[in-house]
């Protein structure tokens, strides 16, 4: 493993970093140029944290919905929507 690591070039790392950058939403890409990988990593961390928070919030909402909704018809609608373009 360590011999593989020494063969990994700056280029490969730059490529991986740029791939990461492309995954960030546009608003988060500001200031994350190739020259500042630390900034990019920080933004990536922030983005992941915000995604975790969204999962949290959506779980709360789903939990509330579950208390009141008719599960069967909701399921049918959900499955239909998955196939809608």
């Amino acid at each position: 493993m360590s011999s593989r690591r020494s063969r990994i070039s700056e280029e490969e790392i730059a490529e991986l970093l740029s791939k990461l950058q492309s995954l960030l939403p546009e608003a988060r890409r500001r200031g994350t140029s190739r020259a500042s990988s630390a900034k990019l990593l920080k933004e990536t961390c922030n983005y992941i944290k915000s995604l975790h928070r969204e999962v949290d919030d959506l779980s709360d909402r789903l939990s509330e919905m579950m208390a009141t909704m008719d599960m069967d018809s909701a399921q049918a609608e959900i499955i239909r929507s998955l196939f809608r373009p």
Binding site: R5, L16, S22, L58, S63, I78
Partner: protein, 154 residues
Amino acid sequence: MKSSTRNPNPNPDTPRFGPSKLMVAFRFLRALTLVHRTAPNSSNAARSRRIQRAAFASMAYSAGPRRAWSRALLWRLHFHRARRLCAGRSRAAGVPRRPSTTRSPADELRRLVPGGTGMDYCSLLEETADYIRCLSEQVKLMQSVVDSGGPRGR
């Protein structure tokens, strides 16, 4: 440049989610049904935690063992499940803890991505990219469940 807004699908004939994403969706919906059926009288908070676990579980099961992050999540989910059965703790399993802010960015990333601690830099970057892709798909899925399931939608 990749857009993160809705409809990544330029072709109107293909479904909104590809085949593997449909797998995640069905898995997640099945888990939701189970939560609904088996916990009708539990608190919102307890149900919410189960739903959150179901979200990470569907992600991890669908990614399978091919990724370090999904392996780590699966391990965590099973490990916590065993502990919960014994100790009755109610912390949501499979959910990464919040890290402190005094670490280097790479180390902070290692704490956020499941299985990241001890990973070499290159693998970390690859795993992070895959994790972000799957996580954002999961968020989209949950959002569309909320949109479809509510009485008047969003």
